[in-house]
């Protein structure tokens, strides 16, 4: 098996004294979509925050192409070629779409043409943004904001992106748009760690998947294996740490 692009080895992480992730080990192979499933409060966003350097690890290590990421700042991790698209389509709402894309290129040693080529390249995946370049991002629809958030991460041409619940709050047709863009992106060679709650649609596009439950890896495997895995059912239906199953969106 080739060396994975991203590897997490026995990581623990949380918020101050609140431990959330326990002994998580995960691998993401280059050029694949790897899904992380789990219901509300399972620790999915905590995982992506830990990988991107927003919160520190209390144990374990993270490597990207063999290079250690843990202990580094988010700015330095972005420099290593990893981009994190956070939950809730957060973009710079007061700035234009074009400015949002340019922010992804801040301090990159590129001339004017190269910059606009990067912009155009990211927009090829989301043509609906091309006509809105001069509008402020706050005036876009939720789906367009999600697309912009992904495009902003892409202009830097990362080796890998983490995408946290891109389906959140979007209509089914828009979710389709975003997911097909992720597939197109994978086919262009970008490695993707996709955090989601919507199980079936995510497993359709993923090459491999992990199930988080109570901050631990409850199951892992190919999509076909996971679909029939009792651990997946339990992670969504079971009475795990986190209360009733009401929050689940199967």
């Amino acid at each position: 098996m080739p060396e994975p692009l991203l590897h997490l080895q026995n990581i623990d992480a949380g918020y101050g004294h609140v431990a959330v992730l326990h002994d998580v080990t995960m691998s993401v192979a280059e050029g694949k979509i790897v899904a992380v499933l789990g219901r509300n409060g399972a620790g999915k966003s905590t995982l992506t925050k830990a990988i991107s350097g927003l919160i520190p690890l209390s144990a374990g290590e993270i490597t990207l192409a063999g290079e250690r990421l843990d202990g580094r700042s988010p700015v330095s991790i972005a420099g290593a070629g990893l981009q994190y698209v956070v939950e809730g389509h957060r973009v710079f709402r007061a700035q234009t779409v074009r400015a949002n894309l340019d922010i992804g290129l801040y301090k990159q040693p590129l001339d004017k043409e190269a910059r606009s080529a990067r912009r155009d390249h990211a927009l090829e995946l989301f043509p609906e943004l091309s006509t809105r370049l001069n509008d402020v991002a706050g005036s876009l629809s939720g789906g367009q904001q999600q697309m912009l958030a992904i495009a902003q991460a892409l202009v830097r041409e990362p080796r890998m992106i983490l995408v946290d619940e891109p389906s959140l709050g979007l209509a089914p047709v828009v979710i389709e748009r975003v997911f097909s863009a992720l597939v197109a992106l994978r086919d262009l060679g970008v490695t993707i760690l996709l955090v989601e709650q919507i199980v079936e649609r995510t497993l359709q596009i993923a090459d491999y998947g992990y199930v988080l439950r109570g901050g631990r890896v409850a199951a892992m495997g190919e999509p076909a294996e996971l679909r029939t895995s009792p651990a997946l059912q339990e992670a969504y239906m079971g009475n795990s740490a986190g209360g009733a199953a009401a929050g689940a969106r199967p």
Partner: protein
């Protein structure tokens, strides 16, 4: 001499200085959300350093100016290192900076008072200009007055242009969502340092400009803190145009209060106007593009 036009002259000249102070507030506030209580001290340090370099040491005006800007920028950077970034590193939402910037302000004032004493010192105007006033439309206006107004306006135009550069855009990004800015590779601490350097230099320039009009002395820090903040708040924190309008407004209010009542009523008048504007429009007159959260 006509009282109304004289109030207009005083308002515009001091208002221009206040506009610079207001901008210097904005520049630090943007990437940090900090309202720097030592902002007035940069003005005071600027005026005192101008007195030392230009009057005591007799250096040419431009050389003195360069040293003042360096000195004030350095003072601001020290504040960022010891009083702001350590606090923000622990928590972005902490308001401990109220205490730490106030403490920094007190320390700076004590050091300057120890070093150069309480006596007001004269500061020269640039060569070729004078404070001899000519009667223009009933107001006594000097070439130096015009210089102050023009320089302040030019600095504001410069800041407005700076906003349109990638640096300006990165600063807005940090102001709007620090976390996403970091994830996109923007280092907020580095931007904060640059902001302090620029803010210190601009407040120092305000001190150099105002010193020939009022004499350099340690009480300038207090004199400029509240009106400078009021100008920034009235204009809308973060807006350069707002800072200019806010500066002129506060300048005119102070001049009118001094003419109508007495200098002692200036602060009260500033407060009344500040409260009035903020009651009607809490975000100030020219708040930057509203960030609506859905």
């Amino acid at each position: 001499m006509d009282l109304t036009t004289q109030v207009l002259r005083d308002g515009l000249v001091f208002g221009s200085v206040l506009a610079l102070v207001a901008c210097s507030f904005n520049i630090i506030h943007r990437p940090t959300n900090v309202l720097n209580f030592a902002q007035g001290d940069f003005v005071m340090v600027g005026a005192m350093l101008a007195a030392v370099t230009m009057t005591v040491m007799g250096l040419p005006w431009l050389v003195g100016l360069a040293l003042v800007l360096l000195g004030c920028a350095a003072t601001a950077l020290v504040e960022e290192r010891v009083a702001v970034t350590p606090v923000l590193r622990r928590s972005m939402t902490s308001v401990s900076w109220v205490i730490t910037t106030l403490a920094f302000s007190i320390i700076v004032e004590n050091i300057i008072a120890k070093a150069w004493g309480p006596n007001p010192r004269t500061v020269p105007v640039p060569p070729g200009l004078s404070q001899d006033a000519t009667d223009i439309g009933g107001a006594l206006v000097s070439s130096y007055d015009v210089f102050v107004v023009v320089v302040a306006a030019l600095i504001l135009v410069g800041l407005e242009l700076l906003d349109r550069t990638p640096l300006g855009s990165a600063l807005s990004a940090v102001a709007e969502d620090r976390e996403i800015a970091m994830l996109r590779g923007i280092n907020p601490v580095r931007l904060t340092q640059r902001s302090f350097l620029l803010s210190g230099a601009i407040a120092g320039l305000a001190g150099v400009l105002v010193a020939p009009l009022v004499l350099a002395n340690t009480s300038l820090a207090v004199q400029f803190l509240l009106p400078g903040f009021a100008a920034a708040a009235i204009g809308g924190l973060g807006s350069n145009r707002g800072a200019l309008i806010g500066g002129y407004t506060i300048g005119l209010v102070q001049a009118a209060a001094a003419a109508q009542f007495a200098v002692a009523y200036q602060s009260a008048a500033v407060f009344v106007v500040l409260l009035g504007v903020l009651l009607l429009r809490p975000q100030g007159i020219f708040a930057p593009k509203a960030v609506r959260h859905v």
